[in-house]
Amino acid sequence: MNRPLSAEGFEAQASSRAQNSALLNIRSVAKTFGKHAVLHNISLDVAEGEFLTILGESGSGKTTLLRIIAGFEHATSGEVWMGGERLDLLPPYKRRVNTVFQNYALFPHLSVEENVAYGPRVAKTPAGEIRTRVDEALAKVRMQQYAKYLPSTISGGQQQRVALARALVNRPRLLLLDEPLSALDANLRRQMQIELKTLQREVGITFIFVTHDQEEAMVMSDRIALLHAGELEQVAAPAEIYSRPATAYAAQFIGHTNLLEGEVQAGVARCQDLSWQVKLPDGPVSFSLRPECIRLAHAVSAQNAVYFRARVVDYAFHGASELVRVEASHGHTMTVRTSSHGKLRGEAELEFDPADAVPVRRPK
């Protein structure tokens, strides 16, 4: 079993899939504000019709990257291409890219209907066509009955829908969404996540969605581009990034994980007392082991499983499952996910399958 150790491996796979019908190519984009480097050498391809999420904490550069694609910032170096044309040299109003802004940025002096009609109107679309397109767009987001309202008189969720209609009415090739759900409360947010995803399938427009919420990213995206301190940590499908994180940061940022540090010598990985066989070159190594990959040891376990004894220190209830913190005999503190009925308490014999320990890149 030969697993790539580096994130480049995953990126190469992902981009080769995207290249078949890549809509957007971001090529070695870097951005500095004064002396402060916000983005380093970002390269990313986005496929036609894809729902890509740029995930990162605040300050990771995700909004800057979005603003470069929209045209509100200029990259310090690198290029952005869309559909075979250079995009980053065009002013924002000549790009077939529309944005749903973080606080929606609806025009306060225009009604819902006039907000949605804004794009077609400045494009000098005939009045009859504007009306049908605006009606269509408002119907799509179920806001027809609010057409005459002013933005200040409707709720946040409704404003969000109007912002979506205002962008989609222009039939962009690419829709950018800058944390559009962050202002909504948890329930509405979950509902909008599903609605947005459904809508994206329906209209077939490529979405680039920016968020700091890893759960949101997992629920909605075809692929996630994880950005950290201005660099891409990993670009992969949610399931892949979860089960095969490329870096220690990716493993920790998305879901919970146990980071095991050790060394490989002659095909054997040693992390404190634990050891198992690997096909990795010699040298220091880190593994990510998800809490759900650790289980109670049974008499008839897989023959190559790694065993250790542990004592329960602490536990937290998470609905269907429990996250239990244990102190292993080798001194590590590890987190184990058990079913809530499992009731892992006191001392226990635990094990994991070495295949579940994923080698990850450490920060340089």
């Binding site: 924002p92 529309n98 606080n103 940025a105 306060p108 002096h109 804004y118 400045v122 008189t153 962008a167």
Partner: protein, 274 residues
């Protein structure tokens, strides 16, 4: 904290406070009340208490061509000053908010200078300039004087309006395909409407009762304040009381309109915050 102190003082000495307040208000408004009352006094400006209330002075006023000519002059000056101050002040406000250029700090202070500069300095310096340039003094020179002195009002009002404006609105407009110019007309300007109307009203009012700058730059045609001042040198007439009363009423109306616009602007802001 301030509220608490007020509450305590108020509870301890409500009568004293009320008397003090009444005194302050009397000091502020008694002269105006006297002026208004005597504009209806049948015995002119003399005599106490005012007797035989009459509208004669108003009748006399309405047939006084010199006064009305000066009113027209003042209106012309005020409207022209509003146009000049807005035409130069709005771009200056935009530049202060948007552009980054060397010497911006100095530019800001220079633009605001006329606001704090005594009118006598503005008037005198412009007079010397016009003399040097051989320009004959007339209403045009007064207009130029008022216009330049009041640019700073337009600049500050527009600048304050722009500071409150969410830049995301303009970005949204560009994003939706509007050029910079279309964005300015369709998004920036409509949202500055209240600031601009407010500035215009303020400039208009200030120009209407401006004396210092006008005094230096006036030609043969008087503005209303200078006409009144000229007549005062020949003694106070009840007619002056009458015209002053009218000015007071119009100023009051202007202030009310301006205030209501402000309230509306704030109401819009508050709604946006929710």
């Amino acid at each position: 904290m301030g509220l608490l102190v007020n509450a305590i003082t108020y509870n301890r000495a409500p009568k004293l406070l009320a008397a003090y307040a009444a005194l302050v208000f009397a000091f502020l408004y008694l002269p105006i009340v006297v002026l208004i009352v005597y504009s209806f006094n049948g015995h002119g400006v003399g005599g106490f208490p005012p007797r035989d209330l009459t509208l004669d002075w108003y009748r006399q006023l309405f047939t006084d061509d010199a006064i009305w000519a000066s009113v027209v002059n003042s209106l012309v000056v005020a409207i022209a000053s509003v146009c000049i101050a807005l035409a130069l002040g709005i771009p200056a406000g935009l530049a202060l908010d948007r552009a980054n250029f060397p010497g911006k700090g100095i530019f800001r202070r220079l633009v605001l200078l006329p606001l704090v500069l005594p009118g006598i300095i503005t008037g005198l310096s412009l007079l010397l300039l016009f003399r040097e340039a051989d320009v004959r003094l007339s209403l045009v020179t007064v207009i130029l004087g008022h216009g330049t002195a009041l640019i700073s009002i337009a600049t500050t009002e527009v600048f304050a309006g722009l500071q409150k404006l969410d830049r995301a609105h303009e970005e949204a407009s560009l994003d939706l395909g509007a050029t910079y110019w279309q964005t300015f007309w369709r998004v920036t300007l409509p949202n500055l409407k209240l600031s601009i109307i407010g500035a215009a009203l303020l400039i208009f009012t200030l120009s209407m009762d401006e004396i210092a700058v006008s005094f230096f730059l006036i030609g043969r045609d008087n503005t209303l304040p200078l006409e009144i001042w000229g007549r005062l040198r020949r003694g106070i007439t009840p007619e002056i009381n009458a015209i002053s009363t009218l000015i007071f009423v119009f100023s009051l109306l202007a202030i009310i309109v301006w205030y209501r616009l402000r309230m509306r602007a704030e109401a819009v802001d508050n709604e946006l915050l929710v």
